[in-house]
Amino acid sequence: MGGGHRHPLHWPGNSPGHRLPPQVKIVAALLLVICVVATPRQVFWAFGGYLLVLLVLWRVAGVPVRWFAKRALIELPFVVLAVLMPFVGVGPRVEVLGVPVSVEGALAGWAILAKGTLGVLTSLTLAATTSPTELLVGLRRLHAPAVLTTIATLMLRYAEVIVAEERRMRLARLARGHNPRFLWQVGATARGLGTLFVRAYERGERVHLAMLSRGWTGALPDADDRRTSPRSWCAGLSPVAVTALVWGVALWTS
């Protein structure tokens, strides 16, 4: 069945985490990240507390930890930077296993690693429980600029169409003996991209006509006019309450 709209960052499910209205989850994720970022970096235990909150959320959503771990690899370039910081940092140095490391650099590296990882994991949690379409609905309900949400909605749909078009063009090139693995054939590929751009542009014009034909006035209508219930706000913001508590204590003790 090709029924599902499978996205690599989405874990389809029907857990309480999945069922929450998207706007609640977006706000909760944003607040959670703010808490993480605003925590003083030397309060090490607080970051453990945040991770615990995320682990509980994953459990509730029924998404395996390994799934997150794999997708968190996107962070790797920043981890490299964080690992380098203790060695290139300035200020007083201490010897660790015979290697002099900068205290300031080590702390900065730790902050990048901890806050970055928690930020990525929070975003992944949001993405895992909220499909791209729902995310856009949420942003629209939160009154994000209509132009941006419209562009993103159309991108979501037409990225696939354009990728399919590119695939057809590539097959057509291959069928006529083109072998894109050779560097000197990069010219043909570039020209193909140019054609793809023109095609995408023309399609854009036709789509605009189609939208006008159905009464388009400049903003996507929201089909669902039900108000978000206070209960779902409470449920969605409860993890944020815990993180806010951790953050408050961290500030107090630092």
């Binding site: 090709g2 709209h5 979501l156 696939e160 169409v161 036709r206 089909a223 039900r226």
Partner: protein, 267 residues
């Protein structure tokens, strides 16, 4: 010379006669690059009529279709839809009255899911909440696509996309359907299924096509356009029987197709 007959159907009403569903008078249009596409088209379609708009590639069929809901304008001549002139202040109502089905369903289906796409039009025309959901359900049921409501248009077959596109148009409850090449790129079964759906609809219909058997099957009347003007207008069977006329305008019946054997499905 080419035949230019009057429409066979006229409203016989003792009181005030209903305005024609569609009245196009002396419509001319040139694209911004200077290419003239329409040279004075006259067309009158009565309510409930099904008309095939035939013509070779580049005859101006699609250009004409895009004028009927005011998406293209700026040339000479006038278009009236059920008596309402197509002009800027009326555009919203015109676009509700005229449902345009585009040739490429990928142009028409631009929302992430089928239900959002079908709901796009009626939501623009002010429908919300349960009424909107109800309208989406009805439109999808009319084209037999109810079970695909939450899928992405990308995961549908060509025929299914065409039917969802039709549902998008039907959801706006238009007075007149304008279909641009509805049978293009469809496998035979999908083509027949679409014909069955279209045959069930009671709408006034203008079907742009060069699929001549399809025109005969669905439309009692045909209008032949070439070089930006109407060159023939009459019963579809008569027009298709005039092989000299068809040949003059680069049209021909498919190999093996016999007019005498074909029974139209319209009543």
């Amino acid at each position: 010379m080419d035949q230019l007959t009057e429409p066979t159907q006229t409203t016989v009403d003792a009181g005030t006669p209903a305005p024609p569903a569609l009245l196009v008078e002396q419509l001319t249009y040139a694209y911004p690059d200077g290419r003239q596409a329409l040279f004075g088209v006259d067309l009158r379609i009565e309510p409930g009529e099904r008309v095939a708009l035939l013509g070779p590639n580049g005859a101006g069929k699609t250009t004409l279709a895009l004028h009927l809901n005011g998406v293209l304008s700026g040339g000479g001549g006038t278009v009236h839809v059920s008596g309402l002139p197509v002009c800027r202040p009326n555009l919203r109502e015109i676009r509700r009255r005229v449902g345009l089905l585009f040739q490429d369903p990928d142009d028409q289906l631009f929302m992430p899911t089928v239900s959002e796409d079908v709901g796009f039009g009626p939501a623009n025309f002010g429908l919300r909440g349960e009424a909107l959901r109800q309208r989406v359900r009805q439109a999808l049921a009319a084209v037999g696509m109810t079970e695909h409501v939450d899928r992405s248009p990308l995961h549908l077959s060509g025929g299914q996309r065409r039917r969802v596109g039709l549902a998008c148009v039907l959801a706006c409850e238009p007075d007149i359907l304008v279909l641009d090449e509805p049978s293009a790129n469809l496998e035979p079964v999908a083509r027949r299924e679409l014909a069955e759906v279209l045959g069930e609809l009671g709408h006034t219909m203008l079907m742009v096509t060069h699929d001549l058997p399809y025109a005969l099957q669905l439309c009692p009347r045909a209008v032949l356009v070439d070089g930006g003007i109407v060159v023939a207008d009459g019963p579809t069977r008569d027009i298709l029987a005039d092989s000299a006329l068809l040949a003059r305008h680069r049209l021909e019946l498919p190999w093996g197709f016999s007019l005498s054997a074909a029974e139209p499905t319209h009543g």
